[in-house]
């Protein structure tokens, strides 16, 4: 994957409305004024190769909220629920978001459907031995889905990770307990005890794929209403 120049990140933004739309796909220089002094101090705790990646994720959130709601990027603060799921706070209002970042690339997603939560995951298609990972993380149905195209493993992985974010459970549920079933153009993502989700993938480049999943999932922090224009 081509590394971004040191002062640049590449960001993507996705909104879920009547369909999933990629609304941001741009490289930009990191705008210093978007971040507070405490933000910058926090970023400086990361090694250089992680710093730009973290910045890319946050820049994607700020740019997405600016594009959709004209919110000022410098006033958008990314926080986390006790579950670890991120949300953005701007001017006393909270917005449920999903964020993913990878090697100087950042992606953010926002649901415009009040009843649906969205999750995303950015995955790099690597040249690597996939057999062990396929055996460990895919069930027989999923292995059948990728029989002729092993590199589709990365798309399934992106969907599974996105689903874990949508459910707000992170690594507490093993990825091999998440199951992807293909339903035409869309996928259904399931796990015992969780609301089934819809999912799709977006090929951002030959090496980058974005998994997007969504469904009627209650917010982990019930004191924060889901959807749009909410008080914190």
């Amino acid at each position: 994957l081509r590394q971004q120049q040191s002062d640049q990140v590449h960001i993507f933004g996705v909104v879920l409305d009547s369909e999933v739309k990629l609304v941001i796909d741009e490289a930009l220089s990191i705008p210093e004024q978007w971040f507070t002094t405490s933000d910058r101090l926090a970023f400086n705790q990361f090694p250089p190769h992680r710093r730009n990646t973290r910045l890319a994720g946050q820049a994607a959130v700020k740019q997405l909220l600016h594009k959709i709601y004209a919110l000022p990027p410098q006033s958008t603060v990314i926080k986390h629920y006790p579950s670890g799921a991120p949300y953005a706070e701007v001017g006393g209002r909270c917005y449920d978001i999903s964020v993913s970042h990878l090697a100087g690339y950042g992606a953010a997603a926002l649901s415009l459907k009040p009843d649906d939560r969205v999750g995303i995951d950015l995955v790099q298609r690597r040249v690597m031995d996939l057999e062990g990972l396929i055996d460990k993380t895919l069930d027989s149905v999923e292995q059948g889905l990728i029989r002729d195209h092993k590199t589709d493993f990365f798309s399934l992985w992106a969907l599974k990770e996105a689903a874990l974010k949508t459910w707000q459970v992170g690594m507490r549920v093993p990825i091999w307990d998440v199951h992807v079933r293909t339903m035409g153009r869309l996928h259904q993502i399931e796990a015992d005890g969780f609301t089934p989700l819809c999912g799709t993938t977006i090929d951002l480049s030959s090496q980058l794929v974005l998994g997007v999943t969504w469904g009627a999932v209650a917010s982990a922090a019930r004191w924060v209403p889901r959807g749009l224009h909410m008080g914190c």
């Binding site: 990361f46 090694p47 190769h49 992680r50 990878l102 090697a103 995955v123 690597m128 062990g132 990972l133 055996d135 460990k136 993380t137 992985w157 990770e161 690594m171 507490r172 093993p174 990825i175």
Partner: protein
């Protein structure tokens, strides 16, 4: 002593293979923050590669509790003993 040195060297080879970096040197306090490309997929790939190399199986709770490379090495040592 020899067996622990051997285990350390074998674990280092696993890391070098997984992350495709012959110069990667592991140390007890090493975490994902120290290695370029160590994300969730590579983490599972690392676990799968360790299971294969050392002939052990890890439970999810064991994987989730690992804080650094030193703890991974200790876990492998316990399983082999």
């Amino acid at each position: 002593m020899n067996s622990s040195v051997n285990l350390h060297d074998r674990l280092q080879t696993v890391f070098q293979t997984v992350f495709d970096d012959d110069n990667l040197i592991i140390f007890p306090d090493m975490t994902a923050n120290d290695v370029d490309g160590w994300d969730s997929m590579m983490h599972i790939n690392l676990i799968v590669s360790c299971e294969k190399e050392f002939g052990v199986k890890f439970a999810l709770s064991e994987i989730a509790d690992l804080q650094n490379v030193g703890e991974l090495e200790s876990l492998i040592t316990r399983k082999l003993n």
